[in-house]
């Protein structure tokens, strides 16, 4: 509660801030990287997310850009001459990267255009303002006692793992990323060269520019074999771990991507005694536990041995043993 009730100021766990678009680039056919800048963003850690919405001003009824005349060219985003349809509710995006300089904070959001909100986002230009509520949710735990980590990410589930790779490397944990998409055109990462399809995933390389920046070797997979390992990322992960059994013991696995993909990772980890954390995705309205939209079925010691957990406040990060998969 507020300071005037308890005498103690409430820790600002999350805030509603205005942010300005400072970079916006198309990464691949349907994915974009949006970088916004804001002030005094509360402490955040990898795995947490923000709720993003058009800047709203209830006094004027409609969302307005704070600097409508300052939009500049030089972005790869869609330059729509007509006003895009604005989403009504905010949308949740994991933080793909975060840099601080004094009280200024730059936040990367990597998104895929799939509907009204992301179509609107694709029209954002440099200098435009958007609202951010965050940081929200629980972060990935970083287990200092375990010196080895694997990241397994699929498609638009890759972004939180990028920031996590940085944090793990900074914590002195040797990290390898397994990242995949259905096809090369949908790989939301920059990459070095164009490796011919290969059948096994024994060796990870500094093949992804973004993961290389975090000193994290990666194995890139595509389902159709158009780039890197041919097969889905779960197969790449299993193949890599099996081929490197000695270094894989005592590893922690972090995964984010389509639910079936994460289930594959979680089942394999459970069978092989890997500690594993999954980053769940649910559509949500509020992001702070009030709308009750974003339920994830988890094990419970109470009656019925299951319960609904809210993805926004208890998650989005869950230990794999908690989840009851559909």
């Amino acid at each position: 509660m507020s300071g005037n009730m308890s005498g103690q100021p409430t820790p600002k766990t999350f805030q509603l801030v205005q942010s300005t678009v400072i970079n916006h680039q198309r990464i691949c056919r349907e994915h974009y990287r949006l970088t916004v800048s804001c002030y005094n963003f509360a402490n955040a850690r990898p795995g947490q997310f923000v709720q993003l919405s058009p800047e709203m001003n209830p006094q004027t009824d409609v969302g307005e850009s704070c600097q409508p005349d300052s939009a500049q060219s030089g972005t790869d985003c869609e330059a729509s001459l007509s006003t895009p349809a604005l989403p009504f509710l905010p949308r949740a995006f994991s933080i793909g990267g975060l840099r601080r300089n004094g009280s200024t904070c730059e936040i990367d959001i990597i998104y895929r255009v799939v509907g009204v909100a992301t179509e609107w986002m694709a029209t954002l230009r440099l200098g435009q303002c958007i609202s951010l509520l965050g940081p929200l949710g629980q972060a990935f735990p970083i287990i200092q006692e375990k010196p080895r980590a694997f990241l397994v990410g699929g498609g638009v589930g890759i972004p939180p793992l990028l920031w996590l790779a940085e944090a793990l490397t900074n914590a002195g944990i040797t990290t390898t990323a397994m990242i995949g998409s259905t096809t090369k055109e949908l790989l939301p990462l920059q990459h070095e060269g164009n490796p011919a399809p290969y059948e096994d995933a024994r060796e990870a390389r500094l093949s992804s520019t973004e993961f290389a920046r975090a000193n994290t070797p990666a194995i890139i997979s595509t389902d159709d074999g158009s780039f890197g390992f041919k097969g889905n990322v779960v197969e790449a992960f299993k193949s890599h771990v099996s081929a490197n059994a000695s270094e894989s013991s005592r590893a922690v696995v972090y995964t984010c991507g389509p639910e079936r993909m994460m289930q594959g990772v979680a089942v394999f980890c459970a069978a092989n005694d890997f500690e594993c954390y999954v980053c769940m995705e649910r559509s949500m309205a509020c992001g702070v536990g009030t709308c009750q939209s974003c339920v994830v079925t988890v094990r419970s010691e109470g009656p019925g041995d299951w319960r609904y957990a809210l993805c926004c406040t208890e998650g989005p990060i869950f230990e794999n043993s908690q989840i009851i998969w559909d």
Binding site: T10, D61, C291
Partner: protein, 318 residues
Amino acid sequence: MSDATDSCLPDLRVNLGGLALSNPVITASGTSGYGPEYAPLFDINLLGGFVTKSVTLHERPGNPQPRTCETASGMLNAIGLANVGLERFCVEKIPFLSQLSIPTIVNVAGHEVSDYVKVCERLDEIECIAAVELNVSCPNVSDGLEWGTDAKRLASLVREVRQVVSRCKLIVKLTPNTGDIVELARGAIDGGAEILSLINTLRGMAIHVDSRKPMLANVTGGLSGPAIKPVALCMVHQVYQGCTRHNGIPIIAMGGIRTWRDAIEFHLAGATAVAVGTSLFVDPRSPLALIDGMRAYLKRHGLMSIQDVIGKVQLPEK
């Protein structure tokens, strides 16, 4: 701020059926949890009152997901009354609510008369609770019909609850999913309602065109947000003109309120208080902007009090 400045500010205080509110803006049930959720963003005590999420006799997990989806200027929800249940509410949620300096209103839902009676009887004993609000949009277990869609059935439910509620004010939240909401208002008042709140969500549906499946696991849900505001405004107008204007029962209006303009419209139509719901998801601090906007409106029109607006719609002469 000096007293001189204060005396220039228009007065937003309202008397909501005996509840003294410092301003008419409250939260709508189910959109701000049990209180602490939005505390990092703003001081709830700046509102006129706080309304909790529904409380039922027993804990309820609620419906499977997807539970919500966005629609044009609004959203559908089928949460299924997920809540911690009466016992946990008393143990876990009351300590926070008891610290609030504004009136706390607890929304109550049930599937049998005895559910409502047991919950309200217990809540009436808890001093920090100023009022109970009956959610009568739930189906009755015996016949599956909503309590709130028939005036006689509604009156009998309210009458039973009235027997056990003596300290708290009794609010009945009316459903718009009915033929004649004025009849329902009369039924609720006959049963002993001291305050009416309207409207609850409108029943709606959305279908995913690629999967051909309903967007909600529950198939249908309740529509809320700015999309329903004209419907809500019309119903507040009808209930005020057709019923409460004559008997002095105050109305809490809700349904798509997002800006001070919306709030003033509802006041003009006859509402004593206004509740912000779905718009909290869009901008959790919007109720505060709304209070500022209402005050500026009164000042601009040279009005000293919000009382000068309530029910003052200029209707054409018949």
